[in-house]
Symmetry: C2
Protein backbone atom coordinates (compact mmCIF):
# COMPACT_ATOMS: atom_id res chain seq x y z
CA UNK A 1 0.00 0.00 0.00
CA UNK A 2 1.18 3.50 -0.69
CA UNK A 3 -0.47 6.85 -0.53
CA UNK A 4 0.81 10.26 -1.41
CA UNK A 5 -1.43 12.01 1.10
CA UNK A 6 -0.93 11.48 4.82
CA UNK A 7 -3.62 11.52 7.50
CA UNK A 8 -4.02 14.44 9.89
CA UNK A 9 -5.83 12.03 12.17
CA UNK A 10 -7.50 8.63 11.98
CA UNK A 11 -10.98 7.68 13.10
CA UNK A 12 -11.53 4.01 14.01
CA UNK A 13 -14.74 2.08 14.65
CA UNK A 14 -13.44 -1.12 16.23
CA UNK A 15 -16.22 -3.61 16.85
CA UNK A 16 -16.32 -7.29 17.77
CA UNK A 17 -16.08 -8.55 14.19
CA UNK A 18 -14.64 -5.68 12.15
CA UNK A 19 -12.25 -2.77 12.22
CA UNK A 20 -13.18 0.22 10.07
CA UNK A 21 -10.94 3.26 9.73
CA UNK A 22 -11.19 6.64 8.08
CA UNK A 23 -8.12 8.77 7.41
CA UNK A 24 -8.97 12.45 7.58
CA UNK A 25 -7.08 15.47 6.27
CA UNK A 26 -6.66 18.80 8.04
CA UNK A 27 -10.08 20.08 6.95
CA UNK A 28 -11.90 16.89 7.95
CA UNK A 29 -12.20 15.32 4.52
CA UNK A 30 -11.84 11.56 4.16
CA UNK A 31 -8.73 10.64 2.20
CA UNK A 32 -9.07 6.90 2.81
CA UNK A 33 -11.74 4.56 4.20
CA UNK A 34 -10.70 0.97 4.85
CA UNK A 35 -11.82 -2.02 6.82
CA UNK A 36 -10.61 -5.43 7.88
CA UNK A 37 -12.02 -8.46 9.68
CA UNK A 38 -9.65 -7.97 12.60
CA UNK A 39 -12.38 -7.25 15.09
CA UNK A 40 -11.88 -7.32 18.83
CA UNK A 41 -13.14 -10.91 19.01
CA UNK A 42 -10.29 -12.18 16.84
CA UNK A 43 -7.41 -10.39 18.58
CA UNK A 44 -5.21 -10.84 21.62
CA UNK A 45 -4.12 -7.64 23.41
CA UNK A 46 -0.80 -7.35 21.63
CA UNK A 47 -2.39 -7.86 18.21
CA UNK A 48 -4.41 -4.64 18.20
CA UNK A 49 -1.60 -2.29 17.31
CA UNK A 50 -0.30 -4.45 14.41
CA UNK A 51 -3.88 -4.78 13.11
CA UNK A 52 -4.20 -0.99 13.10
CA UNK A 53 -0.81 -0.50 11.44
CA UNK A 54 -1.74 -3.06 8.76
CA UNK A 55 -4.58 -0.82 7.72
CA UNK A 56 -2.92 2.59 8.13
CA UNK A 57 0.84 2.23 7.61
CA UNK A 58 0.99 4.26 4.39
CA UNK A 59 -1.21 6.99 5.87
CA UNK A 60 1.10 7.77 8.76
CA UNK A 61 3.75 10.49 8.62
CA UNK A 62 7.26 9.45 9.77
CA UNK A 63 8.35 11.12 12.99
CA UNK A 64 4.91 12.66 13.56
CA UNK A 65 2.42 11.33 16.09
CA UNK A 66 -0.90 10.94 14.24
CA UNK A 67 -3.91 10.95 16.57
CA UNK A 68 -6.15 7.89 16.34
CA UNK A 69 -9.59 8.14 17.94
CA UNK A 70 -11.16 4.75 18.54
CA UNK A 71 -14.67 3.75 19.59
CA UNK A 72 -16.20 0.32 20.16
CA UNK A 73 -15.28 -3.02 21.66
CA UNK A 74 -11.54 -2.33 21.41
CA UNK A 75 -12.15 -0.48 24.68
CA UNK A 76 -13.62 -3.47 26.49
CA UNK A 77 -11.77 -5.43 29.15
CA UNK A 78 -10.95 -8.09 26.53
CA UNK A 79 -9.93 -5.42 24.03
CA UNK A 80 -6.80 -3.33 23.42
CA UNK A 81 -7.08 -1.37 26.66
CA UNK A 82 -10.07 -1.01 28.93
CA UNK A 83 -11.84 2.33 28.64
CA UNK A 84 -14.03 2.35 31.77
CA UNK A 85 -17.72 3.03 31.12
CA UNK A 86 -19.40 6.36 31.73
CA UNK A 87 -22.57 5.88 33.76
CA UNK A 88 -25.99 6.90 32.46
CA UNK A 89 -27.73 9.30 32.81
CA UNK A 90 -24.98 11.22 31.04
CA UNK A 91 -24.03 13.02 27.88
CA UNK A 92 -22.10 10.97 25.31
CA UNK A 93 -18.41 10.60 26.17
CA UNK A 94 -15.94 13.12 24.80
CA UNK A 95 -12.19 13.01 24.38
CA UNK A 96 -11.66 13.98 28.03
CA UNK A 97 -13.29 10.64 28.96
CA UNK A 98 -11.01 8.66 26.64
CA UNK A 99 -8.32 6.19 27.67
CA UNK A 100 -4.85 6.82 26.27
CA UNK A 101 -3.08 3.76 24.91
CA UNK A 102 0.70 3.52 25.00
CA UNK A 103 1.50 2.54 21.42
CA UNK A 104 4.83 0.98 20.43
CA UNK A 105 4.92 2.72 17.09
CA UNK A 106 6.15 6.32 17.52
CA UNK A 107 3.82 7.47 14.72
CA UNK A 108 0.67 6.71 16.76
CA UNK A 109 -1.10 8.39 19.64
CA UNK A 110 -4.23 6.41 20.43
CA UNK A 111 -7.32 7.45 22.42
CA UNK A 112 -10.15 4.98 23.06
CA UNK A 113 -13.56 6.43 23.84
CA UNK A 114 -15.45 4.69 26.65
CA UNK A 115 -18.84 3.03 26.39
CA UNK A 116 -21.77 3.75 28.70
CA UNK A 117 -23.17 1.57 31.43
CA UNK A 118 -26.45 1.72 33.29
CA UNK A 119 -26.78 0.15 36.72
CA UNK A 120 -30.52 -0.39 37.06
CA UNK A 121 -31.70 -1.94 34.88
CA UNK A 122 -28.22 -3.22 34.08
CA UNK A 123 -27.18 -2.41 30.55
CA UNK A 124 -24.11 -1.52 28.51
CA UNK A 125 -23.12 -0.06 25.16
CA UNK A 126 -19.77 0.31 23.39
CA UNK A 127 -19.72 2.05 20.04
CA UNK A 128 -23.34 3.16 20.00
CA UNK A 129 -22.52 6.09 22.32
CA UNK A 130 -20.40 7.47 19.46
CA UNK A 131 -23.28 7.01 17.02
CA UNK A 132 -25.51 8.86 19.49
CA UNK A 133 -22.92 11.63 19.69
CA UNK A 134 -22.95 11.79 15.89
CA UNK A 135 -26.74 11.92 15.86
CA UNK A 136 -26.70 14.71 18.45
CA UNK A 137 -24.11 16.69 16.50
CA UNK A 138 -26.70 16.86 13.70
CA UNK A 139 -29.67 17.25 16.07
CA UNK A 140 -28.34 19.33 18.94
CA UNK A 141 -30.37 19.20 22.15
CA UNK A 142 -32.68 16.46 20.82
CA UNK A 143 -35.35 15.07 23.15
CA UNK A 144 -37.14 11.84 22.32
CA UNK A 145 -36.61 8.17 21.56
CA UNK A 146 -33.71 7.05 19.44
CA UNK A 147 -33.49 3.44 18.23
CA UNK A 148 -30.30 1.89 16.83
CA UNK A 149 -31.43 -1.35 15.18
CA UNK A 150 -28.99 -4.21 14.77
CA UNK A 151 -27.91 -7.57 16.16
CA UNK A 152 -28.32 -5.97 19.57
CA UNK A 153 -30.78 -3.14 19.13
CA UNK A 154 -30.38 -0.15 21.45
CA UNK A 155 -33.30 1.97 22.63
CA UNK A 156 -32.27 5.34 23.99
CA UNK A 157 -34.27 8.03 25.79
CA UNK A 158 -32.68 11.41 25.06
CA UNK A 159 -33.55 14.53 26.99
CA UNK A 160 -32.05 17.80 25.74
CA UNK A 161 -29.13 15.86 24.30
CA UNK A 162 -28.53 13.78 27.41
CA UNK A 163 -28.86 9.99 27.54
CA UNK A 164 -31.43 9.47 30.29
CA UNK A 165 -31.70 5.69 30.01
CA UNK A 166 -31.26 2.92 27.45
CA UNK A 167 -32.08 -0.72 26.82
CA UNK A 168 -30.57 -3.42 24.68
CA UNK A 169 -32.69 -6.11 23.03
CA UNK A 170 -30.90 -9.03 21.41
CA UNK A 171 -33.73 -9.63 18.96
CA UNK A 172 -31.49 -9.66 15.89
CA UNK A 173 -29.23 -12.30 17.37
CA UNK A 174 -32.20 -14.37 18.53
CA UNK A 175 -33.75 -14.18 15.06
CA UNK A 176 -30.50 -15.33 13.47
CA UNK A 177 -30.19 -18.31 15.84
CA UNK A 178 -33.82 -19.41 15.57
CA UNK A 179 -34.05 -18.92 11.80
CA UNK A 180 -30.77 -20.64 10.96
CA UNK A 181 -30.34 -23.29 13.64
CA UNK A 182 -33.60 -24.21 15.35
CA UNK A 183 -36.33 -26.57 14.12
CA UNK A 184 -37.98 -23.49 12.59
CA UNK A 185 -35.33 -23.37 9.86
CA UNK A 186 -37.06 -26.22 8.01
CA UNK A 187 -40.10 -24.08 7.27
CA UNK A 188 -38.47 -20.70 6.59
CA UNK A 189 -37.58 -19.00 3.32
CA UNK A 190 -33.96 -17.98 2.93
CA UNK A 191 -34.60 -14.26 2.64
CA UNK A 192 -37.95 -13.16 1.24
CA UNK A 193 -40.46 -12.26 3.87
CA UNK A 194 -44.25 -11.92 3.67
CA UNK A 195 -45.04 -8.39 4.88
CA UNK A 196 -48.65 -9.19 5.77
CA UNK A 197 -47.63 -12.15 7.97
CA UNK A 198 -45.01 -9.89 9.57
CA UNK A 199 -47.52 -7.18 10.44
CA UNK A 200 -50.12 -9.67 11.70
CA UNK A 201 -47.56 -11.22 14.02
CA UNK A 202 -46.41 -7.82 15.30
CA UNK A 203 -49.98 -6.82 16.13
CA UNK A 204 -50.89 -10.14 17.75
CA UNK A 205 -47.86 -10.44 19.97
CA UNK A 206 -47.79 -6.76 20.93
CA UNK A 207 -51.33 -7.20 22.24
CA UNK A 208 -50.62 -10.55 23.92
CA UNK A 209 -46.87 -10.70 24.58
CA UNK A 210 -47.27 -13.62 26.98
CA UNK A 211 -48.02 -15.85 23.97
CA UNK A 212 -44.50 -15.75 22.52
CA UNK A 213 -43.26 -19.11 23.83
CA UNK A 214 -46.29 -20.94 22.52
CA UNK A 215 -46.44 -19.12 19.19
CA UNK A 216 -42.84 -19.81 18.13
CA UNK A 217 -43.22 -23.54 17.54
CA UNK A 218 -46.61 -22.78 15.99
CA UNK A 219 -44.72 -21.36 13.00
CA UNK A 220 -43.26 -24.78 12.24
CA UNK A 221 -46.53 -26.54 12.95
CA UNK A 222 -48.52 -24.19 10.70
CA UNK A 223 -46.10 -25.05 7.90
CA UNK A 224 -46.79 -28.75 8.42
CA UNK A 225 -50.55 -28.78 8.98
CA UNK A 226 -51.93 -25.47 7.68
CA UNK A 227 -49.82 -24.77 4.59
CA UNK A 228 -48.07 -21.67 5.96
CA UNK A 229 -45.64 -20.61 3.21
CA UNK A 230 -41.91 -20.28 3.94
CA UNK A 231 -42.12 -16.53 3.26
CA UNK A 232 -45.05 -16.12 5.65
CA UNK A 233 -43.21 -18.25 8.24
CA UNK A 234 -40.20 -15.96 8.02
CA UNK A 235 -42.43 -12.90 8.28
CA UNK A 236 -44.21 -14.36 11.28
CA UNK A 237 -40.99 -15.18 13.14
CA UNK A 238 -39.58 -11.71 12.52
CA UNK A 239 -42.89 -10.10 13.50
CA UNK A 240 -43.21 -12.13 16.71
CA UNK A 241 -39.70 -11.18 17.83
CA UNK A 242 -39.83 -7.49 16.91
CA UNK A 243 -43.39 -7.18 18.24
CA UNK A 244 -42.25 -8.73 21.55
CA UNK A 245 -39.41 -6.25 21.71
CA UNK A 246 -41.75 -3.31 21.20
CA UNK A 247 -44.00 -4.68 23.96
CA UNK A 248 -40.94 -4.91 26.22
CA UNK A 249 -39.78 -1.34 25.67
CA UNK A 250 -43.10 0.47 25.34
CA UNK A 251 -43.39 1.36 29.05
CA UNK A 252 -39.86 2.69 29.22
CA UNK A 253 -39.64 4.58 25.92
CA UNK A 254 -42.03 6.91 24.15
CA UNK A 255 -42.83 5.11 20.90
CA UNK A 256 -45.13 7.83 19.54
CA UNK A 257 -42.25 9.10 17.48
CA UNK A 258 -39.02 7.18 17.10
CA UNK A 259 -35.86 8.25 15.32
CA UNK A 260 -34.48 5.08 13.74
CA UNK A 261 -30.77 5.22 13.05
CA UNK A 262 -30.43 3.07 9.96
CA UNK A 263 -31.88 2.49 6.53
CA UNK A 264 -31.24 -1.20 5.96
CA UNK A 265 -33.75 -4.06 6.04
CA UNK A 266 -33.63 -4.31 9.85
CA UNK A 267 -34.34 -0.62 10.33
CA UNK A 268 -37.18 -0.85 7.81
CA UNK A 269 -38.65 -3.82 9.69
CA UNK A 270 -38.73 -1.76 12.90
CA UNK A 271 -40.33 1.12 11.03
CA UNK A 272 -42.98 -1.17 9.58
CA UNK A 273 -43.67 -2.72 13.00
CA UNK A 274 -44.03 0.67 14.68
CA UNK A 275 -46.22 1.86 11.83
CA UNK A 276 -48.69 -1.01 12.06
CA UNK A 277 -49.08 -0.36 15.80
CA UNK A 278 -50.03 3.24 15.08
CA UNK A 279 -46.66 4.73 15.99
CA UNK A 280 -44.42 6.61 13.64
CA UNK A 281 -40.72 6.33 12.96
CA UNK A 282 -38.26 8.22 10.83
CA UNK A 283 -35.35 6.44 9.16
CA UNK A 284 -32.05 8.29 9.38
CA UNK A 285 -29.02 7.58 7.27
CA UNK A 286 -26.57 5.94 9.69
CA UNK A 287 -23.72 5.28 7.30
CA UNK A 288 -21.59 8.22 8.37
CA UNK A 289 -22.97 8.65 11.87
CA UNK A 290 -20.09 6.91 13.64
CA UNK A 291 -17.61 9.06 11.75
CA UNK A 292 -19.64 12.14 12.78
CA UNK A 293 -19.32 11.09 16.41
CA UNK A 294 -15.58 10.47 16.10
CA UNK A 295 -15.14 13.85 14.40
CA UNK A 296 -16.97 15.50 17.26
CA UNK A 297 -14.57 13.87 19.70
CA UNK A 298 -11.57 14.93 17.61
CA UNK A 299 -12.83 18.52 17.45
CA UNK A 300 -11.60 19.04 21.02
CA UNK A 301 -8.29 17.26 20.40
CA UNK A 302 -6.03 20.31 20.42
CA UNK A 303 -7.76 21.56 23.58
CA UNK A 304 -7.41 18.25 25.43
CA UNK A 305 -3.87 17.46 24.25
CA UNK A 306 -2.27 20.87 24.59
CA UNK B 1 -24.05 -60.40 17.04
CA UNK B 2 -25.85 -63.55 18.07
CA UNK B 3 -28.53 -64.34 20.59
CA UNK B 4 -30.07 -67.64 21.60
CA UNK B 5 -33.45 -66.12 22.35
CA UNK B 6 -35.52 -64.65 19.53
CA UNK B 7 -37.97 -61.77 19.77
CA UNK B 8 -41.71 -62.33 19.70
CA UNK B 9 -42.01 -58.72 18.63
CA UNK B 10 -39.90 -55.57 18.56
CA UNK B 11 -40.78 -52.13 19.90
CA UNK B 12 -38.99 -49.18 18.30
CA UNK B 13 -38.81 -45.53 19.35
CA UNK B 14 -37.40 -43.85 16.23
CA UNK B 15 -36.72 -40.19 16.79
CA UNK B 16 -34.83 -37.53 14.87
CA UNK B 17 -31.46 -38.31 16.40
CA UNK B 18 -31.70 -41.85 17.81
CA UNK B 19 -33.22 -45.24 17.24
CA UNK B 20 -34.03 -47.26 20.35
CA UNK B 21 -35.39 -50.79 20.20
CA UNK B 22 -36.67 -53.32 22.71
CA UNK B 23 -36.99 -57.00 21.85
CA UNK B 24 -39.85 -58.60 23.77
CA UNK B 25 -40.64 -62.25 24.43
CA UNK B 26 -44.08 -63.86 24.36
CA UNK B 27 -44.95 -62.70 27.88
CA UNK B 28 -43.82 -59.10 27.26
CA UNK B 29 -40.45 -59.31 28.96
CA UNK B 30 -37.52 -57.39 27.48
CA UNK B 31 -34.85 -59.75 26.18
CA UNK B 32 -32.76 -57.00 24.57
CA UNK B 33 -32.67 -53.19 24.65
CA UNK B 34 -30.40 -51.48 22.15
CA UNK B 35 -29.94 -48.11 20.55
CA UNK B 36 -28.04 -46.45 17.72
CA UNK B 37 -27.51 -42.93 16.42
CA UNK B 38 -29.33 -43.75 13.19
CA UNK B 39 -32.15 -41.33 13.84
CA UNK B 40 -34.56 -40.16 11.17
CA UNK B 41 -32.48 -37.06 10.53
CA UNK B 42 -29.48 -39.09 9.41
CA UNK B 43 -31.27 -41.50 7.06
CA UNK B 44 -32.56 -41.55 3.49
CA UNK B 45 -35.77 -43.55 2.90
CA UNK B 46 -33.99 -46.71 1.80
CA UNK B 47 -31.65 -46.64 4.80
CA UNK B 48 -34.31 -47.20 7.46
CA UNK B 49 -34.70 -50.94 6.98
CA UNK B 50 -30.93 -51.64 7.03
CA UNK B 51 -30.61 -49.47 10.17
CA UNK B 52 -33.29 -51.56 11.86
CA UNK B 53 -31.75 -54.85 10.73
CA UNK B 54 -28.33 -53.70 12.01
CA UNK B 55 -29.79 -53.49 15.48
CA UNK B 56 -32.07 -56.55 15.42
CA UNK B 57 -30.65 -59.15 13.01
CA UNK B 58 -29.79 -61.76 15.66
CA UNK B 59 -33.18 -61.32 17.34
CA UNK B 60 -35.21 -62.26 14.28
CA UNK B 61 -36.39 -65.82 13.59
CA UNK B 62 -35.70 -67.15 10.07
CA UNK B 63 -38.84 -67.64 7.98
CA UNK B 64 -41.04 -65.98 10.59
CA UNK B 65 -42.40 -62.47 10.26
CA UNK B 66 -41.59 -60.67 13.52
CA UNK B 67 -43.86 -57.67 14.18
CA UNK B 68 -42.07 -54.35 14.66
CA UNK B 69 -44.11 -51.50 16.16
CA UNK B 70 -42.54 -48.09 15.54
CA UNK B 71 -43.34 -44.66 16.92
CA UNK B 72 -41.72 -41.30 16.30
CA UNK B 73 -40.22 -39.33 13.45
CA UNK B 74 -39.70 -42.45 11.30
CA UNK B 75 -43.36 -41.87 10.44
CA UNK B 76 -42.88 -38.32 9.16
CA UNK B 77 -42.93 -37.36 5.50
CA UNK B 78 -39.11 -37.35 5.50
CA UNK B 79 -39.02 -40.66 7.38
CA UNK B 80 -39.34 -44.32 6.42
CA UNK B 81 -42.97 -44.05 5.39
CA UNK B 82 -45.47 -41.33 6.17
CA UNK B 83 -47.96 -42.27 8.87
CA UNK B 84 -50.60 -39.54 8.46
CA UNK B 85 -51.43 -37.66 11.66
CA UNK B 86 -54.53 -38.30 13.73
CA UNK B 87 -56.31 -35.02 14.48
CA UNK B 88 -56.89 -33.79 18.02
CA UNK B 89 -59.17 -33.90 19.91
CA UNK B 90 -58.67 -37.67 19.86
CA UNK B 91 -57.55 -40.65 21.87
CA UNK B 92 -53.92 -41.72 21.32
CA UNK B 93 -53.42 -43.70 18.11
CA UNK B 94 -53.66 -47.48 18.23
CA UNK B 95 -52.46 -50.15 15.86
CA UNK B 96 -55.51 -49.69 13.65
CA UNK B 97 -54.23 -46.18 12.90
CA UNK B 98 -50.76 -47.45 11.99
CA UNK B 99 -49.17 -47.41 8.54
CA UNK B 100 -47.88 -50.75 7.26
CA UNK B 101 -44.43 -50.64 5.69
CA UNK B 102 -43.49 -53.05 2.92
CA UNK B 103 -40.19 -54.43 4.19
CA UNK B 104 -37.69 -56.15 1.90
CA UNK B 105 -36.59 -58.59 4.57
CA UNK B 106 -39.12 -61.45 4.87
CA UNK B 107 -38.49 -61.63 8.64
CA UNK B 108 -40.07 -58.20 9.26
CA UNK B 109 -43.59 -56.86 9.37
CA UNK B 110 -43.45 -53.20 10.28
CA UNK B 111 -46.20 -50.91 11.59
CA UNK B 112 -45.57 -47.21 12.17
CA UNK B 113 -47.86 -45.41 14.59
CA UNK B 114 -49.01 -41.95 13.51
CA UNK B 115 -48.45 -38.71 15.35
CA UNK B 116 -51.18 -36.22 16.20
CA UNK B 117 -51.87 -32.86 14.65
CA UNK B 118 -53.99 -29.97 15.80
CA UNK B 119 -55.34 -27.47 13.31
CA UNK B 120 -56.05 -24.42 15.47
CA UNK B 121 -53.75 -23.49 17.02
CA UNK B 122 -51.51 -25.41 14.64
CA UNK B 123 -49.41 -28.01 16.41
CA UNK B 124 -47.93 -31.47 15.89
CA UNK B 125 -46.42 -34.34 17.83
CA UNK B 126 -44.71 -37.57 16.78
CA UNK B 127 -43.60 -39.95 19.47
CA UNK B 128 -45.15 -38.13 22.41
CA UNK B 129 -48.59 -39.59 21.54
CA UNK B 130 -47.11 -43.00 22.39
CA UNK B 131 -45.76 -41.69 25.70
CA UNK B 132 -49.23 -40.32 26.41
CA UNK B 133 -50.70 -43.73 25.58
CA UNK B 134 -48.21 -45.27 28.01
CA UNK B 135 -49.14 -42.76 30.69
CA UNK B 136 -52.83 -43.47 30.15
CA UNK B 137 -52.27 -47.23 30.34
CA UNK B 138 -51.05 -46.62 33.90
CA UNK B 139 -53.61 -43.88 34.62
CA UNK B 140 -56.75 -44.97 32.76
CA UNK B 141 -59.31 -42.26 32.13
CA UNK B 142 -57.02 -39.50 33.47
CA UNK B 143 -58.28 -35.92 33.34
CA UNK B 144 -55.88 -33.02 33.84
CA UNK B 145 -52.72 -31.44 32.52
CA UNK B 146 -49.80 -33.57 31.39
CA UNK B 147 -46.44 -31.98 30.59
CA UNK B 148 -43.68 -33.76 28.66
CA UNK B 149 -40.58 -31.63 29.21
CA UNK B 150 -37.76 -31.70 26.69
CA UNK B 151 -36.15 -29.85 23.80
CA UNK B 152 -39.68 -29.26 22.59
CA UNK B 153 -41.90 -29.46 25.65
CA UNK B 154 -45.46 -30.68 25.10
CA UNK B 155 -48.42 -29.51 27.19
CA UNK B 156 -51.44 -31.77 26.94
CA UNK B 157 -54.98 -31.34 28.25
CA UNK B 158 -56.44 -34.78 28.91
CA UNK B 159 -60.14 -35.36 29.53
CA UNK B 160 -61.16 -38.86 30.54
CA UNK B 161 -58.19 -40.27 28.67
CA UNK B 162 -58.75 -38.19 25.54
CA UNK B 163 -56.29 -35.59 24.20
CA UNK B 164 -58.42 -32.43 24.07
CA UNK B 165 -55.65 -30.06 22.98
CA UNK B 166 -51.91 -29.65 23.17
CA UNK B 167 -49.16 -27.09 22.74
CA UNK B 168 -45.47 -27.31 21.98
CA UNK B 169 -42.96 -24.82 23.41
CA UNK B 170 -39.42 -24.88 22.06
CA UNK B 171 -37.98 -23.50 25.27
CA UNK B 172 -35.35 -26.22 25.63
CA UNK B 173 -34.01 -25.59 22.14
CA UNK B 174 -34.07 -21.81 22.66
CA UNK B 175 -32.18 -22.19 25.95
CA UNK B 176 -29.55 -24.35 24.26
CA UNK B 177 -29.03 -21.83 21.44
CA UNK B 178 -28.93 -18.75 23.68
CA UNK B 179 -26.74 -20.33 26.34
CA UNK B 180 -24.22 -21.87 23.94
CA UNK B 181 -24.13 -19.52 20.98
CA UNK B 182 -25.42 -16.05 21.82
CA UNK B 183 -23.58 -13.20 23.54
CA UNK B 184 -25.04 -14.53 26.80
CA UNK B 185 -22.63 -17.49 26.71
CA UNK B 186 -19.80 -15.24 27.94
CA UNK B 187 -21.46 -14.76 31.32
CA UNK B 188 -22.95 -18.21 31.90
CA UNK B 189 -21.68 -21.14 33.96
CA UNK B 190 -21.30 -24.42 32.11
CA UNK B 191 -23.79 -26.36 34.18
CA UNK B 192 -24.36 -25.27 37.77
CA UNK B 193 -27.37 -23.07 38.22
CA UNK B 194 -28.32 -20.73 41.05
CA UNK B 195 -31.77 -21.88 42.21
CA UNK B 196 -32.66 -18.57 43.82
CA UNK B 197 -31.91 -16.61 40.65
CA UNK B 198 -33.95 -19.18 38.73
CA UNK B 199 -36.98 -18.78 40.96
CA UNK B 200 -36.75 -14.98 41.01
CA UNK B 201 -36.67 -14.89 37.22
CA UNK B 202 -39.64 -17.28 36.95
CA UNK B 203 -41.71 -15.12 39.27
CA UNK B 204 -40.75 -11.82 37.61
CA UNK B 205 -41.38 -12.87 34.05
CA UNK B 206 -44.56 -14.81 34.83
CA UNK B 207 -45.96 -11.60 36.29
CA UNK B 208 -44.64 -9.38 33.47
CA UNK B 209 -44.14 -11.62 30.43
CA UNK B 210 -43.86 -8.62 28.10
CA UNK B 211 -40.43 -7.91 29.61
CA UNK B 212 -38.70 -10.95 28.12
CA UNK B 213 -37.00 -9.26 25.16
CA UNK B 214 -35.52 -6.53 27.35
CA UNK B 215 -34.52 -8.83 30.20
CA UNK B 216 -32.49 -11.30 28.12
CA UNK B 217 -29.59 -8.98 27.32
CA UNK B 218 -29.87 -7.71 30.89
CA UNK B 219 -28.35 -11.03 31.98
CA UNK B 220 -25.11 -10.24 30.15
CA UNK B 221 -25.15 -6.62 31.27
CA UNK B 222 -25.67 -7.57 34.93
CA UNK B 223 -22.61 -9.79 34.68
CA UNK B 224 -20.58 -6.84 33.40
CA UNK B 225 -21.80 -4.01 35.62
CA UNK B 226 -23.50 -5.57 38.63
CA UNK B 227 -21.40 -8.65 39.37
CA UNK B 228 -24.07 -11.24 38.52
CA UNK B 229 -22.35 -14.61 38.95
CA UNK B 230 -22.22 -17.11 36.06
CA UNK B 231 -24.38 -19.53 38.07
CA UNK B 232 -26.98 -16.83 38.76
CA UNK B 233 -26.86 -15.80 35.10
CA UNK B 234 -27.59 -19.38 34.04
CA UNK B 235 -30.40 -19.60 36.58
CA UNK B 236 -31.87 -16.33 35.39
CA UNK B 237 -31.83 -17.34 31.72
CA UNK B 238 -33.47 -20.68 32.48
CA UNK B 239 -36.02 -19.00 34.76
CA UNK B 240 -36.90 -16.30 32.22
CA UNK B 241 -37.52 -18.86 29.48
CA UNK B 242 -39.46 -21.39 31.55
CA UNK B 243 -41.40 -18.62 33.30
CA UNK B 244 -42.34 -17.18 29.88
CA UNK B 245 -43.50 -20.61 28.79
CA UNK B 246 -45.72 -20.98 31.84
CA UNK B 247 -47.19 -17.53 31.16
CA UNK B 248 -47.88 -18.63 27.57
CA UNK B 249 -49.70 -21.84 28.49
CA UNK B 250 -51.49 -20.78 31.68
CA UNK B 251 -54.72 -19.71 29.94
CA UNK B 252 -54.96 -22.89 27.92
CA UNK B 253 -53.93 -25.47 30.52
CA UNK B 254 -54.87 -25.93 34.15
CA UNK B 255 -51.58 -25.53 36.00
CA UNK B 256 -53.04 -26.12 39.46
CA UNK B 257 -51.84 -29.68 39.27
CA UNK B 258 -49.51 -30.87 36.53
CA UNK B 259 -48.30 -34.41 35.88
CA UNK B 260 -44.70 -34.02 34.66
CA UNK B 261 -43.49 -36.94 32.60
CA UNK B 262 -39.82 -37.04 33.46
CA UNK B 263 -37.40 -36.99 36.35
CA UNK B 264 -34.31 -35.40 34.82
CA UNK B 265 -32.96 -31.89 35.39
CA UNK B 266 -35.38 -30.35 32.87
CA UNK B 267 -38.43 -31.95 34.51
CA UNK B 268 -37.18 -30.79 37.90
CA UNK B 269 -36.75 -27.24 36.62
CA UNK B 270 -40.40 -27.21 35.48
CA UNK B 271 -41.47 -28.60 38.86
CA UNK B 272 -39.51 -25.92 40.67
CA UNK B 273 -40.94 -23.18 38.45
CA UNK B 274 -44.52 -24.36 38.97
CA UNK B 275 -43.88 -24.68 42.69
CA UNK B 276 -42.63 -21.12 43.14
CA UNK B 277 -45.73 -19.82 41.34
CA UNK B 278 -47.94 -21.65 43.84
CA UNK B 279 -48.82 -24.54 41.54
CA UNK B 280 -48.00 -28.15 42.17
CA UNK B 281 -46.48 -30.78 39.94
CA UNK B 282 -45.77 -34.48 40.28
CA UNK B 283 -42.72 -36.02 38.63
CA UNK B 284 -43.40 -39.34 36.94
CA UNK B 285 -40.76 -41.81 35.88
CA UNK B 286 -40.74 -41.59 32.09
CA UNK B 287 -38.01 -44.09 31.34
CA UNK B 288 -40.29 -46.94 30.33
CA UNK B 289 -43.29 -44.89 29.28
CA UNK B 290 -42.66 -45.15 25.53
CA UNK B 291 -42.29 -48.90 25.83
CA UNK B 292 -45.58 -48.99 27.78
CA UNK B 293 -47.28 -47.16 24.93
CA UNK B 294 -45.80 -49.47 22.31
CA UNK B 295 -46.86 -52.52 24.36
CA UNK B 296 -50.38 -51.14 24.50
CA UNK B 297 -50.39 -50.84 20.72
CA UNK B 298 -49.02 -54.39 20.35
CA UNK B 299 -51.68 -55.78 22.71
CA UNK B 300 -54.20 -55.56 19.89
CA UNK B 301 -51.82 -57.01 17.30
CA UNK B 302 -53.45 -60.43 16.90
CA UNK B 303 -56.86 -58.78 16.63
CA UNK B 304 -55.76 -56.28 13.99
CA UNK B 305 -53.62 -58.71 11.98
CA UNK B 306 -55.89 -61.77 11.94
Amino acid sequence: MSSREKATWIAADWGTTNLRIWALDSIGQTIAHRSSDKGMGALAKQEFEPALIDLTDDLLTPEVKTPVIVCGMAGSRQGWAEAPYKTAPCTPPTLTDATQVAAQDPRLTVSILPGIKQIDPADVMRGEETQIAGFLSENPGYSGTLCLPGTHTKWVALESGRIERFRTCMTGETFALLSKQSVLRHGLSAGDLDAIAFREAVTTIFGSPQRLSADLFGIRAAGLVAGLSPEAARGRLSGLLIGSELAAVKDEFDLSHVALLGSDAIAKAYQSALDCLGYSATLLNAETITLCGLKLAYSSYSKVHS
